[in-house]
């Protein structure tokens, strides 16, 4: 009995901070329709700012409360600045670009935090009152956890009160229902949006600082928190605050029990819960269908097969790659291989996002499954390279099929968030299952028998892979897939099974990314968790968007340009901030990608 009680209470306590962050995210989405990737970063800033404030204040509860409120106010201000400086300019951009721009903010804020507070974890020195326990059903329970448990429902109640009882709140709710109507009422939308964003950011900061006593301010908070927040928001229903609380409680309590019953499997457990909820209620516990997201219907331009000059350019490119061993040294060869792998990786994402119409923020998952699949096959089963290279895409394809079966029905934002969440889970498995994967040390010593000859294997597989994808995209399957993206109802009325086509494309795309991962593993001799990181997923996204999503040439150009660009950026400190700035600039100035930009200029 006491076990159940204490685990439930522990779960409720962690649910409160999860809820604060997720509530902010969901409120911001409801009004602005922007999925704020930087929300975890605001939470992280809350932790660091809170640390700086609280360590300078007298250590009693009253000052603590004051410091917490000051932190929330500070992050709210940062949020307002972010909205005015960036988001306001991209409300009309496609969802994916908004996500990408806010990811640029994640990178910039990560380096800014590193620069301001240094690389070390900063735990909060805990005064006696923070260390107090109370006896509950015969076991000791931290007093502060009880405070947290109370804060969740209090904030929920406060938010509901504000949204239902104040004019501002009513306007926010109206804007959530119908943005144009509010504009018609003559309300200053800009002020409304900025204030909503500030509120959301303040909630994130509040969540960050309140988690401080039980942990520390550290640089991992941003991505860890955003993943959990995405899951909670999706499970609860996008835009629903009550749903966010329910989901936070569900997942917090489940994790608290999971840690005891199935240690190491909590993340998988979370994903299973999410899958079950989405199968039963595709729009989350308290969510509603908001209709097709905008990305699904827009950005459709005529897709043409390559013209003469494109084929010529591709021929010259191919000749250069063929001759590369004669032209460049070992470093150049490494970059050439990376470019080839990037090409296949980006082309596979293009299949999913372009013709498939399914934006993915977690494409590195399939790459990583292929990379680890090949590495583990080679290491543990002494599989020869050709078999490992064949097995990897099969594994990745099977995984993509299993995941896709749950999520391909969903629309834009949901897909982006869920693919990201799944990638984070794969990443966590790679890091945590040390016995199998070697954890952060990775799997080493996976070299091809003939490293020089391997370059040509990589060349053949990557170019061949891209050509196979291209052929499939111009087959009846590819056209039917595109038909379903362009006009879902029209396609269905012509007998096209859109869901099945999307699932097949999802699987195909995962398999191709898995092949890219396996080739990468053999070219580097190892597989590391970084292959599965969010930034690797974003690499692929940038390549596709850099090149333009309208044709397969886009991701290929993007992959080559980005791999070159990245090697330049990586050679310096604070590369993340630079990359983030590049992403933000790209979204602001080249929303159609480089290829799309060139197309328009012609």
């Amino acid at each position: 009995m006491s076990f159940f009680l204490t685990q439930t209470l522990t779960g409720l306590a962690s649910a409160s901070s999860l809820f604060l962050v997720a509530a902010g995210l969901t409120v911001i989405f409801g009004v602005t329709r922007v999925v704020n990737f930087a929300h975890g970063s605001l939470c992280m800033l809350g932790a660091f700012i809170g640390w700086s404030i609280l360590t300078r204040l007298p250590r009693d509860p009253a000052w603590f409360a004051l410091g917490v409120l000051a932190t929330a106010a500070a992050t709210a201000l940062i949020g307002a600045a972010l909205e005015i400086g960036l988001l306001r300019r991209i409300y009309r951009a496609p969802e994916l670009f908004q996500l990408l721009a806010t990811f640029g903010v994640v990178l910039v804020l990560a380096d800014a935090t590193l620069w301001l507070w240094g690389p070390n974890d900063l735990p909060l020195p805990r005064p006696p009152w923070l260390r107090q326990f109370v006896m509950i059903a015969g076991s000791r329970f931290p007093l502060f956890d009880l405070v947290l448990i109370a804060i969740g429902p209090l904030v929920l109640g406060g938010l509901l009160l504000v949204f239902h009882r104040t004019r501002w709140g009513v306007l926010v709710r109206a804007a959530t229902q119908d943005r144009d109507m509010v504009a018609a009422l003559g309300v200053d939308q800009r002020l409304l949006f900025t204030s909503v964003f500030a509120l959301g950011a303040g909630l994130a900061g509040l969540g960050g600082v309140l988690a401080l006593p039980a942990g520390s301010a550290n640089l991992q908070i941003d991505l860890a928190v955003i993943t959990e927040a995405f899951v909670i928001v999706v499970v609860g229903g996008l835009g629903s605050i009550g749903g966010a609380y329910l989901a936070a409680v569900l997942i917090g309590v489940l994790q608290a029990f999971g840690v005891v019953v199935l240690p190491g499997a909590t993340l998988v457990l979370v994903f299973v819960v999410m899958a079950v909820v989405l199968v039963v209620r595709p729009y989350g516990l308290l969510g509603r269908d908001r209709g097709q997201s905008r990305t699904d219907a827009e950005a459709v331009i005529l897709q043409r097969p390559a013209g003469p000059w494109q084929i010529t350019a591709a021929g010259i490119g191919l000749a250069l790659f063929l001759a590369a061993p004669l032209l460049v040294g070992p470093f150049g060869m490494a970059i050439a291989t990376e470019m080839l792998v990037a090409m296949l990786f980006a082309a596979s994402l293009h299949v999913m996002m372009g013709p498939g119409g399914m934006p993915s923020f977690g494409h590195a998952a399939w790459f990583g499954i292929g990379a680890y699949g090949a590495a583990l096959l080679a290491q543990n089963l002494a599989t020869p390279m050709p078999l490992a290279l064949a097995g990897a895409p099969i594994l990745a394809g099977l995984a993509a099929f299993a995941v896709g079966a749950f999520i391909v029905r969903l629309s834009g934002v949901y897909l982006a968030m869920l693919t990201l969440a799944f990638a984070q889970i794969v990443w966590a498995v790679a890091v945590q299952f040390v016995g199998l994967t070697g954890g952060d040390n990775g799997v080493l010593g996976v070299w091809p028998a003939d490293p020089r000859g391997f370059y040509y294997v990589a060349l053949a597989l990557c170019v061949g892979g891209v050509l196979v994808l291209r052929r499939i995209m111009f087959s009846p399957f590819g056209f039917a897939l595109r038909a379903g993206r362009d006009a879902p109802a029209r396609a269905a009325a012509s007998g096209i099974d859109m869901t099945a086509h999307r699932l097949a494309a999802f699987t195909l795309s995962g398999a191709a990314a898995g092949l890219a991962g396996a080739i990468f593993t053999y070219s580097k001799g190892s597989a590391f968790p970084t292959y599965i990181s969010v930034s690797h997923s974003v690499d692929a996204l940038i390549m596709v968007l850099l090149g333009g999503i309208g044709s397969l040439a886009g991701p290929i150009i993007g992959a080559i340009a980005y791999t070159g660009l990245f090697d330049l950026l990586l050679a310096s400190d604070f590369w993340r901030a630079r990359l983030g700035a590049v992403i933000i600039a790209l979204v602001l100035f080249f929303p159609a990608g480089l290829a799309g930009w060139a197309e328009r200029r012609r």
Partner: protein, 247 residues
Amino acid sequence: MTVLAVTGLQKRFGGVRAVDDVTFSIVAGEILALIGPNGAGKSTCFNLINGQIAPDHGTIHLHGRDITGLAPRQIARLGVGRSFQIAAGFASMTVRQNLQTAFAAHHRQSWRFWHDAMGAHIAEAEALLARVGLVAQADRAAGVLAYGDLKRLDLAIALAGAPGLLLMDEPGAGMALAERGALMRLVQKLAREDGMAVLFTEHDMAAVFAIADRVVVLNRGKILASGDPASVRADPLVQARYLGAGR
């Protein structure tokens, strides 16, 4: 031979009874016009018949088989084609590719991964383009068509499925009078020669009375009157409620 039989069909949206106890049937080769003011429930009827939404009550039978609750793609495969009030083509393809895609779907070839889609069904596509008057637009992107052409393309995609039952939601919208007349004659020819059953709505009463074999008048979800065009036109209730209102 009865192609479509709709019995006691009902659909509510919140408090609105969009379709309320509607019963009618169509035989092969027959052209039935569904008319009524905006919001009468015509499009909802179409959406119910092609499976896009599920009815609250009532049944839909196709060739004697109960198809109530089937998905749109299943109903399409049973030979029901439709065009949309708000026409939509496959915007990222040329007009010809739109039809090639539709023909491939009709011939159950949408799962071919290795064939060249652009090399297949060319002759069929050209023939259909000629019938609906889109030859000049064949190589243009569907996304940039004028609305009248888009309506024609939408109809052509539906016809590519060689439907035994064709549903047309305001096919003539956005077209000049002569174009609309030509389109209606094409549909009439298909009905007469191939025995295709047609259910359509249209605001242009001249077009309706020119080709319809029978007319059903819908008002606020309910059937107000039905019968051959002449008697419906003469019906005092219809005169008062609908035709009299300046049309």
